[in-house]
Amino acid sequence: MKLHDPHTERALVQIALQVRQGREMAQSDSPGWVRRMLNGSGWVSVLLVAFPYLHSFPLDQRSQPWQILVYSLVLMVAAWQIRKKLDQFATSPAHYPALVNLPIKGEKVLSWVRSRVIRETSFVTLVLCILISVALHGFSMDCCWVLVATTLLLFSTVFATALLSRDTWVQRSQLPKVWGLIVLSTVIGAAYILFAGKKALLTGGMSEWVKEVIAKACWVLPPSWVMPGHLEVVGGYLAAVWILWGLVWWSRWPKAFAMMIDDPEGFFGSLDFDPVQEEEAEELEIQSQGSLVKEAMLSDSAVAQLDTDHAQILPLPKPLTIRQEGWVEALILRAFTTQDRHLLGAMIHPQQTWTKRTNVVMTAAPVFLLAAWLFMRFFPKGEFWELLYIWGYMFAIGFVALGLLPFSNAIPRATDWWSLGTQMLPFFAALPLSARDLLRISSRVTWVRSLIMVAILCPYALALSVILEHGQKSLLALWLVPATGLFWALSRPIFLWYRLQAMSKRRRGMSIWVWHATASLLIIFLGFAWLILGTAGVLTGIALFNRPQDVGVDVLMSIASVLGSGVCARLVFEIQHWRMRLGHFDWLSTTLKSS
């Protein structure tokens, strides 16, 4: 057994010996206290982000929804870090072969993995929870037990979220996708605040409707359930169920995943493929061997003259491409040449759910419109109905927008990993596909899907706003939706850059560190410019309705901003591509990176 990470190898061998000698977990393999407390640069960044929010604003000037959102997101990041660490130990190609070969039962190994992850992550999580708990209670130590209770609840919710984020039901409910979208929106919001000045965070600095949206969006994030304002309402019950469900998951985890180590073929087979039917395999093997024995008797030159009936072998099926049963897939395929369809097939998993999702949204949209009309016509006014109105409005817009927004376009298969023992190779690297091919295909799919989104979402959002009597603001949809579609499609190069840099491995060495540093600085600068220009370009639309006298200027500025943002995204990709051509990257990896 040879691993690429000698520390891990030593640790695992030590564990195996301890177990054999009946001294399980007798000695901890200490990686050093600094590393244990701040495991990974991610933690440092989380702390760096958290501190300014804790200390920047006096208590009486805080806008609480924004504060709760930020704290919840910080804790969500903490939960993702815990999950990432579990994955890293249990399934990374560098560790997995060792775990499989250890002379211990899988459940025992994974129990050790669980203990180690809890040990390594609990300190920082606890510190975060204490800090946030103190901040949430106005930096007052008057009621210690409340602080302790909040800390413990936050801590438990974070650990529960870490495992529950992969639960089948949670996945089906699309919650992880919504969490990702909230993170993205918050980053964009933070960029806007940087652009507009931090007074937006102060009391009265934030529009009421933004405050309302943030307050409602927070409810989707589990850590917010135990924060003041939420705990007293339904949050406490939600948190209790969540924590209990999480506890069940944490206790079941080693046993549930033991099969991955004890019977890897059965485990992975059950995930991807039907189990091989032994008899069928044998029969086919015999047939194959039979024909081969015959051929083996032929000389080299005779092979070309084989008189075989090729009818069973040829013609070959069509090369891989996406299935075009659905109208969205058919529309997308029409945008491609024959050769590009083959490239598309190599990059995308053939079965896509684009049409299905679009059809679901198109079926739901009239239902929502009807419900909105009935609501406005028949339901009385009151606090409860107002709350229902806001929730319903957010759901009706969010459901349709999320269903139509073109996520993860065109390259999931190209970024799949192919195992070469303890090393991994992305599909993209070993196929005759260039980064420009990826960009071309991916952008084209995004453009078509963005157009579909605009064609459906624009009239829907307009109709919904008209029914809900938003007055002149209803026309905002006609600007915001196309601008978002344009921004999204023009941003494709920067998303592709992200995928490419996650797949590749930067070469090390004195000769190219200057390149790395310069390119990183440029990319950070362009990345900020992309985000700020794009956000400003989309949001300028709001000004269109506030300053009717400057419509021409606003429209021009907005379009220029969105286009400028697209140029920045493209420049980031071009930097990466230029460096790829210079050979600054390798494509082999010893660790599975999420791309």
Binding site: D272, F273, A281, L284, E285, Q287, S288, Q289, S291, L292, V293, E295, A296, D300, V303, A304, L306, T308, H310, Q312, I313, L314, L316, P317, K318, P319, L320, Q339, H342, G345, A346, H349, R413, W418, S419, L420, G421, F427, A429, A430, L431, P432, S434, A435, R436, D437, R507, R508, G509, S511, H577, M580, R581, L582, G583, H584, F585, D586, W587, L588
Partner: protein, 243 residues
Amino acid sequence: MHIELQNVSKTFGRTTALKQFNLNIPPSSIIAVLGENGAGKSTLLRLLAGVCAPDNGLVRYDGAVFNRENMALRRRLHFTPDVPLVFPDQTVARNIATFAALHEKPISGREDALGAWLEDIGAAALMKRTVGMLSRGQIWKAGMACVAAVEPELWLVDEPFASGMDALGLGAFRRLARHLADQGGTVIYTTQMVEMAAEFSDHVCVIRDGVLAMWESSPALRDQIANDPDGEENILRGLRKAS
């Protein structure tokens, strides 16, 4: 395809895989790359395939400098790693068609020849099987079937003789490699088996500690094995005569 490596070096952390490596490979030949474990054989192949980039030096194909993004050159070569890269959720037949399309090598007009190769490789019986359900040896056969459809000008193969293929598959590998070389192509494969390398190649390239230790024609190598009782070990050490 004429291949040239000029002062190519490659390091991984503190490990030097190749040091100032120079090599000139003529077209229409089969090259066996021989070396001990960790000598740098697979690294050489990965550099030639563009999966890794050299720290220093150049790789030239027919005089043109190669980088992975040069698709005109990239389509002319095919890399078979120690587990051949194929689409696991697709059938063998679909894989063959897809690889031919990706390399822009239409099947029409050469159906008979391809059919004969598929039979020879043993892929004919596997055509409707999903690759993910095949054994390792069968995956190699599927991979070879894709190569037969692509007919690359440069075929880079990592450890074909340790692939888990049966004797019939290995025989088919030899015939396919020789066929490609006869068509003007180049086949470079790695192995640790000295006798196999001497028997099945036109030239043998021995790498030792990342350096080209020997470049010899296979008849000369066979002579050395025949006349030197420790011939095989000495060849792996890059020694021409018994020490």
